[in-house]
Symmetry: C2
Subunit: 468 residues, 2 copies
């Protein structure tokens, strides 16, 4: 009884706060228009990409469904690779970000190489026909078998994640009578450190040690930053620090690096990172999460241009040959090239909000828990957003909440929702928790290609050897 | 430069705090002994289960590896099911918790039924030979096809997750000329609500509505609590509320329920939930996370005894026939019956701590991020815990940290660690992020059975239809 009283008092307080919040500030925030991703709002067919209505895709391929926009993927690749006339940088896609064979192959056809962090990804790149010299092998856990394989094939670059890895690499190379092109990962003052990289203060020591190992051809400084490069200031800070370290290596040790590998970490303009306060206001007062300001973000072309210019000018100034520039984009290459469609299975009323219970949740859309991803009502895109929905998935845990409060048009069972920017970390973080993983369809104008079939029940139990 | 200065000042402050912390309070906290799980510390062979040395299992089956203790599983099942002479409760294992066919079959042989929340799990239960009347179908997203299948087979119980689901269920049943045994999930004052259950205050209305639907045979009140039942007080509060609601249904609506379904939510004594402060002290001051007090926890037998006693006494007192009691244990049934073995791939020094880089991380051990799971040094179990390790996985993100600071014996590359209580939510939350999923070996005394083979590279790319 007392519990119930407390509950109602709390509810009343929240309601009051919401009304006050409505009075003093708008609860609705800017959203990105569908056109930002090249989607159109057809008066009858709802959201379309090219001439394909997304809602109709679900009828043909089932729900949930991932949709890859081949044109967007090629555009991103072109922005990174440029016209290929040199003077630019060399691009290696971070396989872990979205390891879908068709997508990877498309990137390789555009002149993008492979950045792999595991024996599986190395196997996949080779299987997709990537020439060994277009592969960079990174990561803290390289199995000995995969290192031997990489060295035997004269892989483009193999990067020691930490100083302790150099001896093992040198031993294997010596046993094989090989001298692999080797990089050393250095953790800079900003971004990740921990298990990743030699601390910048110990870099000279690590390079000196590496050079003393006769079976290693030490070529590269690897400076994947981690976190997110969202502004010019963050990019120039990183580049300045890397150039400084490269000068130091030349001056102190006489090491002229032939490769500077800047890793990845470039953000996707339309993916945001709401603050804890924004999340709380969204959850409790139903205040919209604001879409990120895409005009303020650092885009691919600007990133490429600043990076190549800074490196070029620096080496011209110090009169040393400019090293090759490697980049390893992940999310900036593919995040905005895939979208995720799910279907409203049920609607459950609950006071000031309605639960939209979808057929896909954190099992296939884990990144929505920490990131802003625009949500669009596929077949009601032309109707006004008049109701607040808590968008949840099919898994039996309250953690399976994709959007605590999203303002959408009035929904019905069978409607579909579209989560944008689902091309980074949606696929690798997917689980088969109670539900099979979705199919992936690629669209290229009017062409529609099933590039990954949906998981079947038989697949989910296929590794179980003992059955009754 | 200023950045570096700030960094060193911060490091110095932390060091000082650690020293002060050492002076005033012990940084080491209690751990559970291996014997708690029936493991023994063999002087030469390290940790053993039965006569099997865990370290040697990795040589035979590869690393990482999940190990299922069949004896422990049977013991837990017996504690729930009792001697089967009636008067007790009926047990349905929550499939989603650890959907491993061998483990499920073992439970079914012990008289445990199946609680399923998806079309896949229903398919799996039927495939494992579970009689339809030993299956309970719950969850917020039941596909129409799976509802038809369940109804056609006269499933034991189908539970409406929310009031809105009743009409659809009634329509399907009427079309099929069937009258399925139906329950309604009610969210009680403690535990989960949100997308789950009819609020307790609207339960009468929902049951009244359900009774008016001629094609539903309304039998059960379903009161899965969610969260964790860790004490007698929490259990008795739940049971009291459920009994009160059942009286209300009888008094007001004349509905005599034939089933009270208490769901799951019973905790596992050896799995803890560290506070935010404990986590922070662990991360920054390297203070051990304390193991939970297993003697204070509510065990299976006490849970069963309180539940059956309370329900029995209540219905004797009100002179109404006692309904059947259903429970749907998940973690309390299997958590402590599985362990996860991983291998040290590399060690990276970093000041006051050492990174132990393992071949398995959050890709296969997601629950360690929020829960306390005892960590044991398999082949060094008899050596003193003399060094603090940050135990991380192979995935290239700082989020792949299993233990920010764990006190372990001095480790070498190739050593193995054992994460205890890996039998709940480790398997369903597993991903194939860059690395294949591990095999599962079941041990029964000296018998060793491979019950799930490791994922192969080919499996990971098997659904990709377009290959270059």
């Amino acid at each position: 009884m007392l519990g119930a009283l407390k509950y109602y008092l709390k509810q009343g307080l929240k309601q009051g706060l919401r009304r006050a919040s409505d009075t003093f500030a708008s609860r609705t925030a800017r959203q990105l228009p569908p056109g930002y991703w090249g989607l159109a709002a057809h008066p009858q067919r709802g959201l379309t990409l090219g001439n394909v209505a997304l809602h109709e895709l679900l009828e043909r391929h089932g729900s949930p469904l991932l949709v890859l926009d081949i044109q967007a993927l090629k555009r991103n690749a072109r922005q990174f690779v440029g016209d290929g006339t040199g003077g630019g940088l060399e691009v290696f896609y971070s396989y872990k970000t979205n390891p879908v064979a068709f997508s990877l192959s498309t990137l390789h056809q555009q002149g993008v190489g492979a950045e792999v962090i595991s024996a599986y990804e190395l196997w996949l790149a080779l299987r997709l026909g990537v020439p060994a010299d277009r592969i960079v092998y990174n990561g803290p856990v390289k199995s000995e078998a995969s290192m031997r394989d990489a060295i035997a094939r004269d892989i483009g670059l193999i990067t020691a994640n930490h100083a302790e890895e150099l001896d093992g690499l040198a031993r294997i190379a010596a046993e094989m009578g090989k001298r692999p092109r080797t990089g050393i990962r250095v953790s800079m003052s900003q971004g990740w450190s921990g298990q990743f990289g030699v601390p910048a203060g110990e870099a000279l020591q690590a390079f000196s040690r590496a050079r003393s190992l006769a079976s290693l051809d030490v070529r590269a400084l690897h400076a994947h930053r981690g976190g997110m490069i969202g502004s010019e200031a963050e990019l120039t800070a990183l580049v300045t620090e890397v150039l400084g370290l490269s000068d130091l290596l030349a001056d102190r040790l006489g090491i002229e690096l032939s490769i500077l590998d800047f890793g990845g970490s470039l953000g996707t303009p339309s993916v945001g990172y709401p603050t804890a306060t924004q999340r709380r206001l969204n959850r409790t007062l139903l205040r919209d999460l604001p879409a990120p300001d895409v005009t303020a973000a650092l885009g691919i072309e600007r990133y490429v241009s600043i990076l190549t210019m800074m490196v070029g000018e620096h080496f011209a100034r110090v009169s040393r040959p400019r090293p090759r520039i490697f980049v390893e984009p992940g999310r900036s290459m593919t995040s905005n090239t895939q979208l995720l469609l799910t279907t409203v299975h049920a609607l459950k009323g609950a006071g000031d909000r309605t639960y939209a219970i979808m057929d896909g949740g954190i099992n296939i859309a884990e990144p929505t828990r920490g990131e802003y991803h625009q949500l669009l009502a596929v077949n009601r895109i032309n109707e006004p957003p008049s109701r607040v929905y808590t968008v949840v998935g099919p898994i039996c845990t309250p953690a399976d909440t994709l959007y605590p409060a999203a303002r959408l048009p009035e929904l019905s069972v069978g409607d579909s929702l579209c989560i944008m920017d689902a091309g980074a970390y949606f696929v690798p973080f997917a689980t088969s928790f109670s539900y099979p993983q979705p199919a992936i369809v690629a669209l290229d104008g009017d062409r529609e290609i099933l590039v990954r079939r949906a998981e079947q029940f038989e697949d989910m139990a296929a590794r179980d050897i003992v059955r009754v």
